[in-house]
Subunit: 329 residues, 2 copies
Amino acid sequence: MRIAIDAMGGDNAPHAHVESALSAAAEWPDTQLILVGNPEVLQPLLGKGAPSNITIVPALEIIDNTDEPVKAVRRKTDSSMVVAGRLVKEGNADAMISAGNTGALMATGLLVLGRLKGIERPGLAAIFPTLDNQGVLALDMGANMDAKPEHLLQYALMGSLYRSKVHGISKPRVGLLNVGTEAAKGNELTKVAFGLLEQAPINFIGNIEARDVLDGQCDVIICDGFSGNILLKALEGAASTIFKLLREELTASFTSKLAAAVLKPSFRRVRDRMDYNEYNGAPLLGVNGLVVKGHGSSDANAMKTAIRQTRTAIGNRLIAALADEFSGK
Amino acid sequence: MRIAIDAMGGDNAPHAHVESALSAAAEWPDTQLILVGNPEVLQPLLGKGAPSNITIVPALEIIDNTDEPVKAVRRKTDSSMVVAGRLVKEGNADAMISAGNTGALMATGLLVLGRLKGIERPGLAAIFPTLDNQGVLALDMGANMDAKPEHLLQYALMGSLYRSKVHGISKPRVGLLNVGTEAAKGNELTKVAFGLLEQAPINFIGNIEARDVLDGQCDVIICDGFSGNILLKALEGAASTIFKLLREELTASFTSKLAAAVLKPSFRRVRDRMDYNEYNGAPLLGVNGLVVKGHGSSDANAMKTAIRQTRTAIGNRLIAALADEFSGK
């Protein structure tokens, strides 16, 4: 299988991407890793003894986080992100991974690859850590700001298929993000979507409140892109604030510093379990090709996790399964 | 001033409410605390030496969390919550506080007290802890699920007035909860609301992302009730998950238990700074009378904080100021 990596996108590009590619190339000899970016930058990082299953495809432009997504994808046709998308589009790669500008990646999915037949709006997924360490796939995280109930239904079908194909869960439990657990709760969108989800051929377990998202009650959580983005960033923000406060308090005195030093491994484990990078590599579901988003701050380990997820998705023919599911509708 | 307390609502009713009333009565002799509930339950808790500025107003029914809000308020006319609302409505109390069923409290506001003239939809506020310890007032947390841009504008005006009247902030910084900081970001609702807020006679500082809510960049955060509820519960859920994980990890071995014992005061300080009870007592803004919501899990200290906030709001004639602001529109 062939995976194109946007080697210039993300906070730790290109080093983390080259490092993860080297590690992945060694672990999975059947996988061709295509680093897309400036060869003059990438070649020296790869070194001379680079394995034969890593190649470089040149792309001299870079889309960064300040770029306006749609404009950037239209104009920067030689950017690492767009070139990676084109490799998938033209059948020269089975998937692409990018840790770059999220909006631009969605635009790449829509403009370069296009929607899967039958899909009205693609949805961007994220995988949240959960207390039971199984993680939960949540979508949409912001691809589609004004979702309709039918879009939420399609997210539920796609999310279910992803969890069963890529994570081997037989009957993924699907929950609808809502303000209360009762069926009648919510806004106009969720009230109508609830009825559609009840009728759908999925394991719909009802509404789930934002405070229970990390508990592990669901395998898939469905929401509109606006609420999903609020959810994602609120969870991240709360975690970052608490760890900031802990650092402040635990370094306030000599005694607390000493005790905190003893507990360092425990804190690290908590941090790791809340770390989104541990579950890196969420798909943009509904586009005609496998597009995987890495967290912007992905390091080499996180990128390798994304590569692992992508390999599983390719191996289980995720895109073909999605195409089958929706083409008849 | 006279404050009616729904003595039967909330996880720690009635004990926490009686205890907080006793403490408040001692601290503020100018304040009449009216405990609304079953006298046979409340009288023994008060004891014989209860101060003269605590009175009991009988109400024999209770609205609990399983009650359907509107139905409960209509039918349970002798419930502690509805009776407290009626005391405000009929001029026998200057405010009411309840830690009970949030939906029912909103229904009490709407059905018993009615809207303020000029207000289209009341909004339920919450106060979040922030890193700078000033807290941020956010609304709407769920009173109005399908908000229109004009509702968000009214929330901004009411929230600003509350922060200046009750918290003494001269030009409260108002932010719009959104998925990005740029003006063009968001869904149809926030895009239109952004324009209205720019024109409004408030200190509008633009969009704020959910991950920055706790940073202290704003004094007021505006959102629709659905997103607000997701935000509130995601922040609560993340904090509770992290503290759960910490407890697990820090009690995993003898050494870690020992070190954690040394750090107990530090952990408590972090917990307290993230504790919503420290900022207890958020108003239902836009109803014709002062209705204050205590967190469902409020203990006696938290209830006393709510009483303190309520006293300040009464002292600064918040409702009259809101009525002035909107009556001419």
